[in-house]
Symmetry: C3
Subunit: 350 residues, 3 copies
């Protein structure tokens, strides 16, 4: 696994640089930038994990929260800069769908093939269900529905208000989970950590984190500029590129670790990664992008298209109802994956 | 009970044949065809049950799954052949509403009048809730919403894709429940079976199944041709005929057995019948009809009207939230029945 | 607390009378009528409670049910009489949102600051979730969606039908909770009552109840007539006045008692007040107002605006999913309050 990541990065990034200078074709650049980003995301993930072990669960949680969606955030900022607001919203949708349906579905399926029934904390699942309803259903549906009879400026004001509230709640949630109610949550993450040895030292981790993040920023900018050509060449809509392609590239690292954990019969960690990442996208990445867009040529309101919104709502209700028994099996995984497939076909045909 | 069924069939079917030859009025034909089909459904149910006892739970489950909605499927095929796509979709809606609200409502009510609190498997209820969300909310809402900005051909392609996925998941679900995870589900069905004696021999059951199915096919064709006149005479819309009338005729047999079981304090079986039948309609009957319609003069996309869709979604959420405690009582039954009544009035006035 | 209530009433009501005679400005009248009503609601609440203790839990429950939303009902009747149907529907929305998000949110938050985790009956929460889905989602969504393709007269007929059903179910629910299934519900209310001494005698309670209700009726009429000027002066829409202002004035008494109980670590009572009041508004106050409006110059159909409906649906789903673990803490309170804030901003900007 680690070798693949190394190959992706050490052949991918140089090729991207070379391609930029030599002005290679967009399709080739699209492929090598995507692969490089996936590799770099692997390095960011490993560096964050090493740092988390060294600095204890509190700071570790914060680090995970901050760098977990760093790749996604960087790609989105460059896409915003290029004025492609539609793709940014679509890739946020894709992150939510990808985490809730694809990552969780493949984790449940792969884990369920090897182990008959896998258990995760019912308490955490119930806690998460409330947050998912708040972040996806309340915070995303309200601006959508209310904006229907608002002008652009008022819609943007509403989006800004909601974004500030979402970020505040996200920080309050970290405070809740890491300070006031630490012991309440499943000890699954802590139990192993005490015995675990970090892969890299603190210094090395920070250095790698810094370099990899810079590299992602550079490659993302290249990737974003291929979208237009890619869309024309393959007949893909902006929506499809955002929801499916960008989301898969931007979340590849999480996908791999969630599925690996499920096969190791640690499906509780898979759930934590998938749902945690979804909540982070909805309550942190999305509102931060709204605020950043205020300094960009084109502002982004928190208003998804109706198909995007409906896909996210139905995915949320499905996950909540499939995980309300604190157990998973291969068939539940298949259902989640099928839901992703159905939505994928829908976005492709749209 | 069995005597009534016999009378319905042995006076009903000959009258339908006579009426067809002598060209009787559509209203009279509507009444006698409906009653004959209810009777024949009773025979199909009993033959399936006898076969299930003889062949053990696995094949029995498969038989139930296949013949359970045979009547509904046959009526729908003839309605499709007559080009009345709207009535087919409405009768699918009606099956879902009828099973979830009317059958379950009357079962909870009748059972709850006799027994203060009735318990059913919470585990099965939670398993079913995930499937209901997938089948009704994901699979039906996505084509509806996405089709709003699609042309007819693309909508049909999306419907075909979703139908294939739904049938695959339905078969995978049978495999899951009957093969890989047999012991996991409540033993309620098995417990009694070992002591139960089949009503008919295997040979007799197959013969009756064959003849009754043929007869249903014949009578259904007659029934379908009365719809137009009935609608005009009584001022009923296509939607009302499909949602209320066809759904009640097509599911009468299930209704009777579910309520009977609830009164016998076996409300777990009532839930299994009502929810199982709903899932079968949504994940098997509906997609099969979409695929069959490809060979018909008029193709059917999986696109319901907004009122139909909203009625199904709200009914699903109501049932999931009423059954999340694994208990039922007369008041919960009354609530389900009232929801059916509210929707019935709505469809009547529409 | 009681002193504040006394001051509000004994300076407020005379000022309202004086102001009516001397024709004071609408803004001043709006403020003093609002404060008087809040004080009078406090008296009604205390009189109902005293009566409930004297007359035992059954009659007590009935009294609470009848006078609990008396203030709201009276304000609404006078608003209806003034032909402002939009404000009535908005204030019903505001009651639902206020109870589910503001009252429950502040209760969870205030209680959670003092006590780490607070427990309430999971059984009651599950029972309530089914009723909330029925009352808010089935009964309010169906007329909304179906009315889209109905004329005004048919919409009103549908509303009347649904209203009659809702009132019947509400009465059946009282019968269920107070007669057939008394022991099933959490004994929280009864446990204390036996030791509790009523504040006032039966005679005094009835007298106060009668006078305070009369006074509320008088002041409400004054209050209603200030709405138009208030809207113009502050730039508030009809929707905002109804959803936020009227709802807060009409429910102030419940707000205070729910939060007080939560701080006393009796969050089960807070949940009962907030959810009970919501159900009463949806299943009793709203349908009664529809029926009363038939004798008014302008009839009121049970058709909310889309933003109102969506706000109520999302609030309901949020509360159900946050309370499905039978526990509360400050962070859950914050989430509920944030949802209220998001919707409040939305209604303000609309």
């Amino acid at each position: 696994m680690n070798r693949i990541i190394a190959i992706l990065v050490f052949t991918g990034v140089p090729l991207v640089i070379l391609g930029t200078i030599l002005n290679w074709s967009d399709i080739f650049m699209f492929v090598i930038s995507s692969l490089s980003i996936i590799g770099l995301a692997g390095y960011i993930g490993r560096a964050t994990e090493s740092l988390a072990i060294v600095s204890g669960p509190r700071i570790g949680g914060l680090l995970n929260a901050t760098f977990g969606n760093a790749v996604e955030l960087l790609i989105s900022i460059f896409t915003l800069k290029a004025g492609m607001v539609g793709i940014v919203l679509a890739s946020l949708t894709g992150s939510v769908l990808g985490n809730l349906l694809l990552v969780l579905g493949l984790s449940f399926f792969a884990g369920g093939i090897k182990h008959k029934r896998q258990k995760f904390s019912l308490h955490d699942a119930q806690y998460n269900s409330g947050l998912l309803i708040f972040a996806i259903i309340v915070a995303f549906v309200i601006p959508e529905v209310f904006s229907m009879s608002m002008d652009t400026k008022t819609t943007l004001n509403l989006s800004i208000g909601i974004s500030v509230i979402l970020i505040a709640i996200y920080l309050a949630g970290l405070f809740f989970k890491l300070v006031t109610h630490r012991g309440v949550f499943s000890a699954s993450d802590d139990s192993g950590h005490e015995l675990e040895k970090p892969e890299w030292t603190k210094k090395k981790s920070i250095l790698i984190l810094f370099i990899a993040t810079m590299a992602v920023a550079f490659v993302s900018e290249r990737l974003v500029h291929t979208f237009e050509t890619i869309g024309e060449q393959f007949g893909w809509t902006e929506l499809f590129i955002g929801v499916i392609i960008v989301a898969i590239v931007g979340n590849a690292a999480e996908h791999v670790s969630a599925i690996t954990m499920a096969v190791k019969n640690r499906v509780d960690v898979s759930v934590e990664i998938a749902v945690g990442s979804t909540l982070q996208v909805a309550m942190f990445v999305a509102p931060v992008l709204v605020l950043i867009s205020l300094f960009m040529p084109v502002q982004m309101a928190l208003v998804f298209t109706i198909p995007e919104l409906v896909a996210m709502i139905t995915a949320t209700l499905l996950v909540i109802n499939l995980s309300n028994d604190g157990e998973s099996n291969w068939f539940e995984g298949l259902i989640l994956f099928s839901a992703y497939l159905i939505m994928g076909i829908g976005f492709y045909l749209l």
